[in-house]
Symmetry: C3
Subunit: 204 residues, 3 copies
């Protein structure tokens, strides 16, 4: 198993988890089977599509590599059938979501840097890769995006993207810095969940 | 009348019908004249703009060929003045919308294949061309997209896109396969309307 | 101070004002600090990102030049802390917003023309540059976009974009026509505010 293959498998796990989050939101809104599959697809791949449009990588990976679309749709449809049992594995889903957060941010930031986007822009692109899918999921289901309202989520992605950019500038190449940064983001996210950290809200 | 000219006229009829659907939704929400024209434009051309961004055809056709924008805006403004009389022609509008569904899917899929998008991605792009405008229309007017909630619409587009891709791979070229696939989608859509087919919703 | 530097400073003032409008909307919806910064960023730079994607200028300026992102985020965070005092400067904010409207439309139209977009498309791109940020701001905060509902705003942008295009076709180059057109749009917008002009709404 090469490192590239390992990265693909990790990426597809992230896609499946984000698709499951989209599928769950769609089921809760009583959307039909197509709606569940579509919102799942958008939640899993919306961030990556936005990233690829911004860095000029067309067609975006979600359309260029069939494994991404199939994984997203399969995970969404699985949620359609299995959703009553999802509550029992809620902790697992949150853990996998934290892994997706770390991994999507790290790979998104690196792809932007490799495409020649300057440092500040690359950090923003990396963060958007991680939170873009959730934004689209909430807009499609008629909600104000949860990532803008509470919990510490996007700010971890932004911090991780800065770390990846610094490591990249210092000359660290290959898979190791990606995995370290992704693991760090995942760990901080799990800590934020456990300690119920939240960002401040403006005084009225 | 060349076949290219025929395809353009058919395309513009689809644009006008989708613009009318957007204009009607905007009138129902009490938007002003500009809002009606804008939502009509977005409903008619949003799917095509998304398609062109994904396949890297910039500027998108909606901005590169003035006939598309003018048709969309003219149809929207006509709805602004004529909307009380639209109910009388509701059956005609549904028929034309079914034609637009078939045509937008077929041409969108072909454009994606010609731009080098692989088969699965091209089917998704073709479907998005047909449903993208309605998605944007519903988001702009504060609704959960109707295409995600009920009726059999997007799944017909997806099936038609698969058919177009298969015909393309088998070497059928030119206008004939486009028209056959578009006509088939239109027919199935009219059947779905008449029989009130709907996709399943997850059990609570 | 060169004219290019002057244009950049004017552009950044527009970014700051539009970010403040996004930040205010986010504070009103009780979003957290990150949400305020994100909606401010989207309101300030969403129109320009859309413009750059449509004309194929990737990565968009918002990601390529760090001064834009930093200005938008700094202005949003300032609103987070200072918002109770914003009402006192409401007239100033409306004045600066009118300046942003004129400037974003003029530079957006010119960039589209320079990128080879035909006249009608360039006018639409110019208008989208000015209103796109407000659209995204309202969608993210769960509102039907205000620009579609009342007041004369987008139509001034469209008229200004037509003027810029005509001046460009007549061979006027350089900064002067941009500034004249932007000033004219700003003036008409202030007049529209003072006279409470509004566009017609369809009869029920």
């Amino acid at each position: 198993m090469t490192s590239e293959y390992g990265l693909l498998v990790a990426d597809l796990i992230g896609v499946a988890v984000f698709a499951a989050s989209g599928g769950s939101a769609a089921v809760a809104k009583r959307l039909d089977l197509f709606g569940v599959a579509f919102v799942g697809f958008a939640a899993a791949l919306g961030g990556g599509i936005l990233r690829d449009l911004v860095i000029g990588a067309v067609p975006p990976l979600a359309f260029a590599d069939w494994r991404y679309a199939i994984t997203a749709v399969a995970a969404s449809i699985a949620v359609f059938w299995l959703h009553p049992r999802l509550n029992r594995v809620r902790r697992t889903v949150l853990l996998l979501d934290a892994c997706g957060l770390g991994l999507f941010t790290a790979t998104g930031t690196l792809k932007a840097l490799d495409a020649g986007v300057p440092a500040v822009g690359a950090c923003l692109v990396g963060m958007l890769t991680a939170i873009g899918g959730g934004l689209v999921r909430d807009l499609l289901t008629g909600e104000i995006p949860v990532v803008l309202q509470r919990e510490v989520y996007a700010i971890i992605a932004l911090g991780g993207a800065v770390l990846v950019t610094i490591l990249h500038r210092l000359g660290f190449a290959g898979l190791a810095p990606v995995i370290c940064a992704a693991a760090l983001m995942t760990g901080v996210r799990l800590l934020a969940l456990r300690r119920r950290w939240s960002a401040p809200v403006a005084m009225p």
